[in-house]
Symmetry: C3
Subunit: 316 residues, 3 copies
């Protein structure tokens, strides 16, 4: 079993319930990971993912080996058949097979480079590990998805929802730098597994990959989208059409208290890190309805559930 | 309980005695830290602190997660209310709250930048964590203090003192680069908790923050200061008046064998790393009266005592 | 006991047999390393060594502390008597003694700089630790040797040899950048402890240090060397004569299927990372006779044997 996209979840409701049970007693399966090793490979920076995934592994009694490919290892080649006389010292084919021999599970973070849509959509790094590794792979944010985040988001919404079928809004917000679409993509895919009134709102031109959004509702009027919302999930992403470009930094899209008043006292969510007073006003994120900190806490239990399921499969 | 300044020690003599007892049997409390996690966050390089604090946590049975904010995480914003459209990706308010959910104790290293006295005195990073973290904080050297070092220094002096009230000299020494005042500050504050004949010697213009030195004796004549000393503690710091500047590199301040002959066969101490033949002559640091290596060893037991006290409070 | 060169092996055959026994039951000695700490110090990048040595230590129940001197610590000075007013902040004399107090075994990676033959041959970093450390030292690739790799190579050949006295060829291959001779050196020294028909082949001018190759057979005609070989061990190294220079990048030295046909269906070996289609053609490394992945796997058991022997000595 791998965990590379949100679509690998067979029953989201069951997974969420199991994660909430783990959260109540996080050390209950500490024997499960004994003498098992999680290798965490980072091609990009990480705070929450780095620490929460380690914590999850420790709660399961696993050993953890962390490695930053940015400065600790070799530059990898991902193309088959290439003549490796340039910068890359090692092919993914060897790297993935070799690391599989030292680790029982490999977790990987490799962001979109936002330069080449096809290359990012091909998930060069993650796909390379999936193809050549001989142990289960966990996605700690890849070019197009962040399924550990989306699972944590689902747990958090389950804990905070007050109606059976909440209105959930994914709202784009401005940001000075080009950011990947990964978090938004996985959130959309996760919402498609939920019974909810789900709306995506963003400026025209900021449509996500239509193969991911499918028939999810898009509303270009942010105010209209916010009306009666139970959850506002904010996130910036760079343009998918004009791939990787920042074509809009309109501060009118910042989530403010005024906008939140349009909602049904909605809970405010964000995956973090968040740029205050650019993505969201202080008054919103510091409000009692902001659940971003608990959302980050649930990263541990999302990761722990995934690792636990993989360990159970390994042990069986 | 936090451990951010030497002034948080209620009874230095008791702490020193407890640390010496831990040193004799470092694994005696290995159950205390079981399933507890120390997060070590580095904003600057570290060798002794990195390894000795980890070792202390391992002796207590803790899990350790190490993270370098220099290259592994996000750039943090510390100012309240700022519009985060520049370099910083994450506010300390979120970072500190989030990390607190993954760790039972957070240890932080964040040096003075030596550019802005007010900012350094405000202890931007450490204060940010203290303000927003929800778990105990340990200072692994901040802008203005290094209390784990000073505690290790106290342990080392206790082990080596031959008279009840030794003469202890903190001597400035030259250095090519601008260094923080943190070690010197904490040493001074620690000495103020001791019964000793304590003298600080440095060139005029190198006075430490008077709010820290208070009525500690200052002697501008290094030779006079060394007379009959039992301990010579050497350390460079950059100017506090002309903040962060190196205004003096006079090699006459280097600690030499000749100068040590003025002392009462004094023990030589330095926190390390030390620049040989700039701060201190080889003949002094290589002499049998040099106790710098044992001083570094005591870093483990200083850290272990602090972590143990915090764990005992958490467990109670 | 240190493990710094392959020549520290008293009986290669016994060591290989012991490592193969460990491979069959890697957790059998998990109590041996309890409360013992391995410090892994990296002055250069590492993937296999970093992860396999950690894994070996974990299999033995040890604690592991990993530190990158490249960016996490201080720049070290190695020369005795130097006036340290330049870039280096800490002398090896202090660093080695200090780290010895936090670790029970120190493992070090410090490549050749390939600028100054004498300095590299003096093994500045490794020798510095050997001279001043007070705990056993393990070489994780130094300027002139990589004995953990060579031990893994011996294990791998033992597992795959089909005749008592195989023909083993160490073949130079082209590479765009200047690489150290360390792997080749240790392989040669290891082969000198074996009963085998051992041949080194490389272009003229690429002779390794004659003090290492001694009377090992050198054949400048690669094709002739490959005839009837049972093992082809390929590796690039830069010139030893024109020290550290790349004087030849002749693609005719790349190991191809055509060349492998000259052999006795030889097994193909390489220490990795390997540049595909520069050092070796895809068709060779992807062939069933390529044992590079298993060779990398044996790094764990080579390291585990070495750590186990040291721990047994510490415990006794």
């Amino acid at each position: 079993m791998n965990y590379t996209t949100i679509q690998e979840i067979d029953s989201l409701q069951e997974w969420v319930n199991e994660a909430i049970a783990i959260k109540k007693n996080p050390l209950q399966n500490k024997a499960l990971g004994e003498n098992k090793t999680l290798g965490m490979l980072f091609f990009n920076p990480s705070l929450r993912t780095r620490l929460s995934t380690q914590k999850a592994a420790l709660n399961l009694g696993m050993n953890v080996m962390v490695m930053n490919f940015t400065n600790e290892g070799w530059t990898l080649e991902f193309e088959d058949g290439s003549i490796m006389d340039q910068g890359a010292s090692e092919h993914i084919k060897e790297a993935a097979q070799v690391v599989s021999q030292y680790c029982d599970i490999i977790a990987i973070r490799a962001f979109a480079e936002l330069k080449d849509k096809e290359k990012d959509n091909a998930e060069t790094v993650l796909s390379g590990f999936l193809k050549y590794a001989t142990v289960p792979i966990v996605n700690m944010e890849s070019a197009t998805g962040h399924p550990l985040q989306a699972l944590a988001d689902a747990i958090t919404m389950e804990e905070h929802k007050t109606v059976h079928r909440p209105k959930v809004v994914l709202s784009w917000a401005p940001h000075p730098k080009a950011l990947p679409q990964a978090v938004a993509n996985s959130f959309v895919q996760m919402m498609q597994l939920q019974d909810a009134d789900f709306v995506i709102t963003h400026p025209e031109g900021y449509e996500l990959n239509p193969e991911i959004t499918k028939d999810s509702k898009i509303e270009y009027d942010q105010n209209k989208a916010f009306e009666n919302a139970d959850f506002i999930y904010t996130k910036n992403w760079s343009s998918y059409k004009e791939y990787g470009k920042v074509t809009n930094t309109d501060p009118n899209w910042t989530v403010t208290a005024e906008k939140m008043q349009l909602t049904n006292t909605a809970k405010f969510m964000h995956c973090l890190p968040v740029r205050r007073n650019v993505i969201v006003a202080d008054e919103v994120i510091d409000n009692a309805n902001s659940i971003v900190i608990e959302q980050a806490n649930n990263r541990t239990y999302a990761a722990q559930l995934v690792l636990q399921k993989i360990l159970e499969e390994i042990r069986s």
